[in-house]
């Protein structure tokens, strides 16, 4: 069987891992394939072969640029090895515009997609999340485990395992930073009093090689040693082992089936010509919005306003009474180090998660301008020593999400125009729930020694969480071209399968890339099993 995968992000990696477990499947990956600039990649390569003490200063400077302020949004845009390539327009953002403050950098053209720059949090969805899905967590457990075997994974069994099983064999996390360590110790000492207020804490679960980590502190800007997982690592490995053929430099324009045989029309970035790729099965994994646009362009969904369900993000700065000794990111890892879970029911369906980040140099850049003035520099440093940045998420059913409408492409070889709009529903519920979360954290603040800076708590703009999808949600009885079946098929297609978050029935507050990969794996595995009768 010949299979075509469109995209090379985490969902595509999940599909590829399932397909390549079978030797009789020929897999071709069609991708835009945007890459890190050669000079940055060379610097990263040199650093990967040396210990941090031997790194050249110029190499370090080249790849450790932290973040760049976003014109539209409070949370700045990350950089990866000093580059914006995960966000840059390689053709995939053509014709895409946004209104009302919706984040527009929402489709990645990079090889590996947004997993080049993600927070690497890898946590299974709670069992109750699947109450809204047409299958149970047990139906996807084998796929979660397959993914966790295939990617680096660090974490520990702690209180969070009451909702989120660890599953798989995980490395222990490296030593935590001073601040998070202190918070978790206080939680241990005051566990019942904290839990009485409806707050649970635990260590982060991360897709990175905790055992090998050298604690150079560069996680947030790109690990020179590639210890932090990116989907590109899966594809590099599969290409090296000749399990897939990778074809980069193509922007997919249209999908279709000729008498049941699927095809993908794509424009070559090198020649500008449109070419057609055919296979027995096509898996579309271009990211929730990329896939939605591709479907809309293929099925002519010009008059519809499609709702994207989003797990809204919020920023919650937290200040400790006691500061850390050294204001440095060296000697630790700078990914999320602990999670705060705020459940609103017993079963773990309605819950909110906050990821706690220790000091990293991006926080210095994000300080208000006056704190960088020489006269206030000590005050700025004092605050930074006490600061933990909490990035929180609300479930999609409490979040406004955003809408997208599509216009016919301007010409042959062009992608459809797309306009991202604020949702017609308002974010009243999100704000109400955020206040409830804040109240609980204020109650436990003296117990954890960590106080929310309430006036600075804010909901991020729509699309900014990057945790969105659900445009064609799975259903056992799908409505024509609005819902997909359990293997991601939309009417009238039989051999084209959507495999990314576009098919999620809901987007819970739990970090979701692992679940995207697991569901993509489930879809591909199920298709193979069906094919074999």
């Amino acid at each position: 069987m010949k299979v075509l995968i469109v995209g090379a992000g985490p969902a595509a990696a999940g599909v590829a891992l399932a397909l390549t477990a079978n030797s009789d499947v020929t897999v071709q990956v069609l991708d835009i394939g945007g890459r890190l600039e050669p000079e940055n990649d060379e610097a990263r390569e040199r650093m990967s072969k040396a210990v941090p003490e031997d790194w050249a200063v110029d190499d370090f400077r080249a790849i450790s640029l932290t973040t760049v302020a976003s014109k539209q949004h409070r949370i700045p845009e990350k950089r990866n090895f000093g580059s914006d390539f995960p966000f840059r327009n390689f053709g995939q953002l053509d014709g895409l515009r946004s209104e009302g403050g919706v984040n527009s950098r929402v489709i990645s053209g990079a090889y590996g997609g947004f997993s080049n720059t993600w927070g690497a949090q890898a946590m299974v969805f709670s069992g109750a999340t699947f109450d809204d899905w047409p299958f149970t967590r047990s139906d996807i457990e084998t796929d979660y485990r397959a993914i966790l075997r295939a990617i680096p994974y660090s974490g520990e069994v702690d209180d969070l395992a009451e909702y989120f099983p660890l599953w798989g064999s995980a490395d222990p996390l490296p030593h935590l930073s001073e601040g998070p360590e202190r918070v978790l110790n206080k939680y241990e000492r005051n566990r019942l009093r904290v839990r009485r207020q409806g707050v649970i804490l635990g260590k982060a679960r991360l897709a990175f090689k905790g055992r090998d980590c050298v604690s150079c502190g560069l996680c947030m800007t790109g690990c020179p040693y590639s210890f932090v997982y990116s989907a590109s690592q899966t594809f590099d490995d599969l290409v090296r082992r000749r399990r897939i053929a990778y074809t980069g430099g193509y922007v997919a324009l249209r999908l279709g089936e000729d008498e049941g045989r699927p095809f993908v029309a794509a424009r070559s970035l090198a020649t500008g010509n449109t070419e057609t790729f055919r296979a027995d099965k096509v898996f579309v994994a271009s990211g929730a919005l990329g896939t939605t646009r591709l479907v809309a362009q293929s099925l002519g969904m010009w008059s519809r306003r499609i709702h994207m369900q989003e797990s809204a993000q919020f920023l919650m700065p937290l200040l400790a009474l006691k500061g850390i000794k050294d204001l440095t990111q060296e000697g630790t890892f700078t990914l999320n180090q602990f999670n705060v879970v705020v459940p609103f029911d017993e079963v773990g369906h309605d819950l909110v998660q906050i990821h706690g980040y220790p000091f990293n140099t991006a926080m210095t850049d994000a300080l208000p301008a006056f704190l960088t003035l020489p006269v206030f520099r000590d005050l700025g440093a004092m605050l930074l020593r006490r600061l933990t940045v909490g990035l929180g998420y609300l479930p999609s059913w409490w979040s406004a999400g955003f809408d997208v409408s599509f216009e016919r492409p301007g010409g042959e070889g062009q992608v459809a125009g797309a306009t991202l709009l604020p949702s017609t529903g308002d974010d009243y519920l999100a704000r109400q729930k955020l206040r409830a979360v804040t109240r609980r954290l204020v109650m436990v603040a003296p117990l954890l020694g960590l106080f929310p800076v309430v006036p600075q708590i804010s909901l991020s703009a729509p699309g900014k969480s990057y945790h969105f999808g659900g445009s064609f949600p799975h259903s056992r009885t799908p409505k024509q071209s609005e819902q997909s079946d359990l293997v991601g098929r939309l009417h009238p297609w039989r051999n084209i399968h959507l495999a990314d978050a576009s098919v999620f029935p809901t987007v819970p507050a739990t970090t979701f890339t692992l679940s995207i990969m697991a569901n993509a794996h489930r879809i591909a595995r199920s298709v193979l099993e069906d094919d074999r009768g």
């Binding site: 069992g127 047990s138 209180d159 395992a161 009451e162 909702y163 099983p165 241990e188 000492r189 566990r191 019942l192 839990r195 009485r196 409806g198 459940p343 029911d345 017993e346 773990g348």
Partner: protein, 286 residues
């Protein structure tokens, strides 16, 4: 009664109020039962009585032959909440992990009606944390109501003592879900035997809560409606108990237990499952 082929049932906490009744009932029904106790030789890992202590990692050998485990052990000796958590919650999680590794097919955790979302009771919070781990392992949780009948034990025993006071304290508005001990053992036996039981929380109690006053009068010896009752402000009693506990004064009831009486669960969970399994719970009467 003759031995029957069927699950070999392990019961932790078999010398406790509920554990003892369960063991007697299961043996009477012909089940082979393995008792787990902490007050036996710690090298005892075979036979019908085996060593298990929540404060220690279980020897995997103790699960040999057992196919169904009823976890009813709870160590009440530890009053410090942190240490109580370490012993009961962490100890139970260790037990569950070990039992799962040993391939025990069915685990039934005996929780409490004190375990409900947003409970403020330490005991309820600890039970709830274990419940989550049991459910994550696709196993079964039962929440018995206030168990009465037979020789009083547990909370009923404490209330029985309080009801012998010249004036019986009553808390306004308090209503508790109750469970006769015979219905408890019958329900758990059904869960041991039933072929398909979903992994869920099943409340074991009559669905109509009984006013606290009615319970206290029924428990008073001799039961008499003419005994004098006094409605007391529970906040005041709670505060007093907490002060006395800090002073290490030995008390017949803990402040945490009082919370369970005055802020009980609002409903009995898993009624539909109980009904499907044919479980029934009599109205409160002594």
């Amino acid at each position: 009664m003759a031995e029957r082929t069927g699950p070999i049932v392990g019961v932790t906490g078999s010398s406790g109020f509920l554990g003892k009744a369960l063991v007697a009932h299961l043996r009477g029904a012909g089940f082979e039962v393995v008792e787990y106790r902490r007050n036996v030789d710690d090298e005892l890992n075979q036979g019908n009585v085996r060593y298990f202590d929540l404060s220690r990692a279980p020897d995997p050998e103790i699960f040999r032959g057992v196919t169904c485990l009823i976890h009813a052990a709870w160590d009440l000796r530890e009053t410090d909440p942190l240490r109580a958590w370490g012993r009961n919650v962490e100890g139970s999680k260790r037990l569950l992990a070990s039992a799962a590794t040993a391939g025990i097919e069915r685990i039934i955790f005996v929780s409490s009606m004190s375990a409900y979302f947003a409970t403020k009771q330490d005991y309820g919070l600890m039970k709830l944390a274990i419940e989550r781990s049991v459910l994550e392992a696709n196993q079964i949780v039962v929440r018995p109501g206030l168990v009465y009948g037979g020789t009083p034990g547990g909370m009923a025993k404490t209330l029985s003592k309080l009801s012998s006071l010249p004036v019986i304290p009553i808390f306004r508005g308090s209503r508790l879900f109750t469970l006769h001990i015979d219905d408890f053992v019958a329900a758990v036996t059904t869960l041991v035997e039933a072929e398909n039981v979903p992994s869920t929380v099943i409340g074991l109690a009559n669905e109509t809560p009984t006013p606290f006053r009615e319970i206290m009068l029924a428990l008073s010896q001799p039961a008499s409606k003419s005994r004098m009752t006094l409605t007391v402000p529970w906040h005041l009693v709670l505060g007093l108990l907490r002060v006395l506990e800090r002073m290490k004064v030995p008390l017949p009831v803990r402040s945490d237990s009082l919370l369970g009486l005055v802020r009980p669960a609002a409903l009995v969970p898993g009624h539909d499952v109980a009904e499907c399994l044919g479980l029934s719970f009599r109205n409160f009467a002594i």
